[in-house]
Amino acid sequence: MTVADVLLTAIGAVVVGSALLVVTTRHIVHAGLWLVVTLTGVAALYLVLTAELVAWVQILLYLGAVVVLLLFAVMLTRAPIGARDDLDRPRWPGVLVGLGTAGSLAALLANAYRWDKIELPAAGTAERIGEHLFRSWVLPFELVGLLLLAALIGAIALSRSGDE
């Protein structure tokens, strides 16, 4: 067990625990706030795994944009404030499928990697990732820009009021 292993285990426990709270809490707003904890934990995992740029993009985009959008949606759909008991359907199919996917994926990946040990590479800083991004991945990068534009126009067209 190295320092990275201890950190990964601790942060992983926080991530999975808060994710469980996201899907089980009876307050809709609390689910959004626990999602903040989960996403921050995932960003911390990226930092430990040397993916520096991805971690900051995660904080910027997920915490800065996605969570705010979700909380806006909670407010705009007049979600009930306070605990509600009717947020869940019958649980057992979900428990079955969730445990099945988690268990089989974990078994598959654990079997593939056993107890291998690797050295962490140099940090994926903005400079290093940006160099690859603008050298080998320029076309997908531009296509993603186009996709964002299309999503923007689609969202505006969908949320326009009235059908004139």
């Binding site: 990275a4 292993d5 990964l8 992983g12 991530v15 999975v16 996201v22 899907v23 809709i28 689910a31 989960t38 995932v42 995992l45 795994l49 040397t50 993916a51 740029l53 991805v54 993009v57 995660q58 997920y62 996605v66 959008l69 979700l70 949606a73 705009l76 759909t77 979600a79 947020l87 359907r89 649980r91 979900g94 499928v97 099945g100 996917t101 988690a102 994926l105 974990a106 990946l109 654990a110 990697y113 107890w115 291998d116 040990k117 690797i118 050295e119 962490l120 994926g124 990732i129 690859h132 991945w137 996709l147 999503a151 923007l152 969202a155 969908l158 949320s159 009021s161 009235g162 059908d163």
Partner: protein, 122 residues
């Protein structure tokens, strides 16, 4: 670093997300669970990137991290459009519980959409 730790965390996170998608009734909570699953996939991509860098020496370095960046951007686009659809649904049906949406009941032609004060031009 043992890559098995982040991989198992990702698998558990994906299972939790799948549970949420199947069990939650509110459409906004459904989107949150979908985000959990996307994050699990990103953890796998980043860990595989770090692991494969060291063992296989791929032709393009840092591919996993760049894929993760693309996934994050596409997830942001998905959330934008998804929330627009949910708001539209709320205006039509006054509810966002996914199991209360009838699959086939067309609104009568010329039906007036519910005015909930959200519309600027009413």
């Amino acid at each position: 670093m043992h890559p098995v730790f982040p991989f198992v965390v990702a698998a558990l996170l994906f299972g939790v997300g799948a549970y949420g998608v199947l069990v939650r009734r509110n459409a906004v909570l459904l989107l949150m669970s979908a985000e959990l699953m996307l994050n699990a996939v990103n953890i796998v991509l980043i860990t595989a990137d770090v692991t494969i860098q060291r063992t296989l020496k791929p032709a393009l370095p840092a591919t996993g991290q760049i894929f993760a960046l693309f996934v994050i951007v596409v997830a942001a686009a998905e959330i934008g459009v998804g929330l627009a659809i949910i708001l539209r649904l709320y205006r039509l049906r006054r509810a966002v519980a996914v199991d209360e949406i009838p699959l086939a009941d067309p609104l009568p032609a010329g039906a007036v959409l519910a005015d909930d004060g959200l519309d600027e031009r009413s």
